[in-house]
Symmetry: C2
């Protein structure tokens, strides 16, 4: 223990004095002035770990309509146009004025705008009606009516998605779940929570925290996103490595099919082998075959001990070795293993004008979090691990957070990357799954291409690209490849695409690890799924939504 | 630590001298002489944790044909009868003589019998042809031919299922996966294994053990069952509480659809949000919509430290309290929490003629297993837990295994229950999921009914029922209700059914927690699934298998 203590002392000394306070300012990003790109580009945003402002602002009008942005997508003429008669029906169904926003028989543009624009301010629809049902029965009656009258709809939760899936493209009716926000039940023996789809993730997690449990998912958008939306998009988040995916943790789903059928599969059982597990199709179905109105989810015990370490490594090979060692030595308490390359950390330091937690420069950094039930045991395991990886020269330097503030500071080196990358203008962002042994090769290859094309320089402002960096959830083989740019240049796009997608496809990776398809990735599914799988998916869509009214123009 | 050590010393003293060696004799059970029952009844079997003997024996002929047992099920006349021409096709396709067992053009009854009879010797089909493909391509060509020629098939793995799902009912062709038994790849950084469906679970787990990993599933039948069958039946097993369900751990499936289409969804990614997760339908689909030929599965790090404790409790309320405490204090290292009522343990002691690990009699016993990466930490956590639950009088007495032999002895008190219950003749066995707070009430209610009807006595041999006991996976709310009987008596059945099913249905439980539907539970799905869900399941069946050739007469 002597040397472990020594190491801790050393680490502690290094850590003190470095401060990376989390951003608490809510900046409303403006629309990127570029169009025509096929990948995810947007202006830097600071709406991270903060509640999204819902009020309409005049600046929303500066967001281009999605239908203008994607001129190839045409409104399906089979869909009916909304009339005052339709609105009357919905008004009588939903009862109170708070149940809908009517832009059909009144001028409600300002009120409707927040429901038409996504939180990245990248997609904008032309809906004139927002419905806010209070019960599953109301959702059922709405969908029955819409299906009978060929009215297209968009289910909407917290509207925090990253692929434009939760806002209309044309005049689809927005069905917003915000008024379905009740916790239905929680059993603290089994850990099973049943709740309305519209419960905000953070509200659910706070409710569980009071009962020594936690929601098995954590996200930057937790203050706004809704648990129904999390399930509909199969959100992954920060701690999938520990708690697993929603396909394993969601025990039951209540959903309404396009024809109004209520699918009541709200099981509170961890085991139920009686037939096809149909609810799984709704997990990650992105609201294209029905609207999730309630979920039942297994919630683990909340950990009382949380530790965070941040360390430097000389190569991606050593990152993999460190990950293997962490899996072995930290095993059951490992709750996050995040990768950040040296370039990403340099940018964080440069943009914030502050030092990084470690003085030495390295090509790779990792953040490890442990969560367990015994502080002493966990600290000892983590110290042993760090001593081991440092003495075997897997890790070249490291720091261990000593308190909650330092935990936040270390996490901010990881979580602050997207924000800092946006400093120069726009960012090409790719959310990719790649077999772990080759994960970082894509960043190297991409940098090579941009360099070879003479497009990238950290200092030469005449070149469009500032830097290309890689970071992400190492534990889940989930790479975020980000290319920070000074201005739009078609050559950059040509260097990146379809190169990135083809590179990922050649390695059987995924072009959307955790963000889903929405409208942004709809056309790229072929890079991650073969023709047979796409055909089978279309069969499922046709089976459940033969008229195609559910979240049209998106997904597959 | 002083008192914890004291407790350990005390526990150690109690444990020493008690020995419950595992059964190592393989007894071939004989057919129960009763018919007409609708629930699972069979003679005691000792084929638990042993390899099943595959050779045909003359006694197999004493097993009644399923079609006689279920006279209501008629052979579908749309299915073709096998001809020598069909067999010629398969012979040329599969090449060698070891590729099939031909009972059509030759007399191969003896050779085919092991494929016609399930391991419980409860179901017996009339197949005359067994095909043993070696590749996914061969499976595809077989199914294409069968679908075109209206030949019904039964996919078969290790044939260790408990609901008759893996043997034919009439003359369906058996497609046995035993020759598809290759490990395709394993990556020890990500922990992802890709393997043929026919790999035996224990083989896969041993392969992983050499690489410090483990298969995320453990079963009594691990020496015989195949991983493809495990996935097809969504096997639960002993440690679901820790490692979660296959819906979360299976990352990819390769399957062949009835029309021969190869569904290649063998993803090696933990995250892939590109479309509906169709593979989930095959997990628990019991071979009714396709044949799984390969799987990709996330395998956790193998634990180096394993501890087991066994303790006594005065009430089911205290069992729940102990479970809550275990979740809190053992949290990340808890890998099993098994419940055994006092009656089940009395029977184990009585049948084996040996003392139980604890001298004091109690109405409930629990077995806790911990698995972690640090022996000292885990022992300390477990000792602290036991001290805590004993000092707060949640637990009345306890014992902690000191070595591997004692771990086996304590587990045998749980695992030996089914075998010992069969001592008097037959056992009515129910595998149920019930909300945890009410889980044991069913045993009490069932005992009450049997008592009130004057049917049960431990000593009076004139009464048909010896005892009704409850045990199971407390951590998963999975109760095994078993009724040990001396002889078949219609009154017993009338006392049990539909009472048990209705009781479970009233509490939104499941009539098949982990065993699946097969032919045994086909007619009871309505107790656990509503009409809408059953209708949606039938849609899925019709979508993938419109001619109905896949595993007919079963599931839904």
């Amino acid at each position: 223990m002597g040397s472990a203590t020594r190491l801790t002392g050393l680490l502690q000394k290094r850590c003190l004095g470095t401060a990376f306070p989390r951003s608490s300012t809510l900046a409303v990003p403006s629309r990127a002035p570029w169009k025509g790109t096929t990948c995810t580009i947007w202006r830097p945003h600071l709406i991270y770990r903060n509640r999204i402002v819902r009020e309409a602002s005049s600046s929303s009008k500066s967001v281009a309509y999605t239908s203008d942005f994607y001129p190839g997508i045409k409104r399906n003429p089979n869909f009916a146009r909304l009339t005052p008669e339709h609105v009357s029906f919905f008004k009588s169904l939903l009862g109170s004025a708070s149940g809908l926003v009517d832009g059909v028989s009144t001028d409600a543009t300002e009120d409707i705008e927040p429901y038409n624009v996504d939180w990245m301010r990248k997609y904008r629809g032309r809906a004139t009606l927002v419905l806010k049902p209070e019960s599953t029965e109301q959702v059922s009656r709405i969908l029955t009516y819409c299906n009978n009258n060929m009215l297209a709809v968009v289910p909407q939760g917290g509207n925090t998605g990253l692929v434009g899936g939760s806002v209309p493209v044309f005049d689809e009716i927005v069905i917003n779940l915000q008024r379905m926000n009740k916790i239905r039940s929680f059993d603290d023996v089994s850990g099973i929570l049943v709740a309305d789809a519209g419960v905000v993730l953070e509200v659910a997690d706070n409710y569980l925290a009071e009962r020594n449990h936690m929601f098995p998912l954590d996200l930057g958008a937790k203050g706004s996103c809704q648990i129904g939306g999390n399930v509909a998009t199969n959100a992954g988040g920060l701690r999938l490595i520990r708690y697993g995916s929603l396909h394993g943790n969601v025990l039951g789903v209540e959903a309404v099919l396009p024809d109004g059928t209520i699918l009541d599969d709200l099981s509170k059982l961890r085991k139920n082998n009686t037939g096809y597990d149909i609810k799984q199709l709704f997990i990650g179905g992105e609201g294209t075959i029905g609207i999730i109105t309630g979920i039942s989810v297994f919630c683990p015990q909340r950990s009382t001990a949380v530790n965070v370490a941040y360390f430097a490594l000389d190569s991606y090979k050593k990152v993999q070795e460190a990950f293997k060692e962490a899996k072995t030595q930290l095993s059951e308490i490992l709750s996050a293993f995040e990768l950040m390359d040296g370039n990403s950390q340099k940018i964080v330091s440069q943009v914030r004008g502050r030092k990084l937690p470690l003085e030495s420069e390295a090509p790779f950094y990792c953040l490890i979090e442990t969560s367990g039930s015994n502080t002493d045991h966990d600290s000892q395991k983590l110290e042993n691990f760090l001593e081991n990886v440092m003495s075997s020269e897997i890790v070249s330097d490291g720091v261990l957070a000593q308190d909650q503030t330092q935990i936040g500071d270390l996490w901010s080196c990881r979580e602050g990357i997207p924000e800092c990358l946006g400093h120069w203008g726009g960012v090409y962002k790719y959310d990719l799954s790649i077999p772990i042994t080759e994960l970082y090769d894509l960043v190297t290859a991409t940098r090579g291409r941009l360099d070879a094309a003479g497009l990238m320089s950290a200092s030469d402002k005449s070149l469009p690209v500032v830097d290309a960096v890689g970071y992400g959830h190492m534990g889940d083989s989930n790479l975020h490849l980000n290319v920070a740019t000074r201005r739009y240049d078609k050559k950059v796009e040509e260097a990146l695409e379809p190169f990135v997608y083809e590179w990922v496809a050649e390695r059987d990776g995924s072009v959307s690890a955790e963000h889903g398809l929405g409208i942004a990735k709809k056309d790229y599914i072929g890079y991650s799924r073969n023709e047979t799988m796409v055909k089978l998916m279309k069969q499922i869509k046709d089976l459940y939504d033969p008229k195609g009214i559910m979240n049209p123009y998106k997904y597959i």
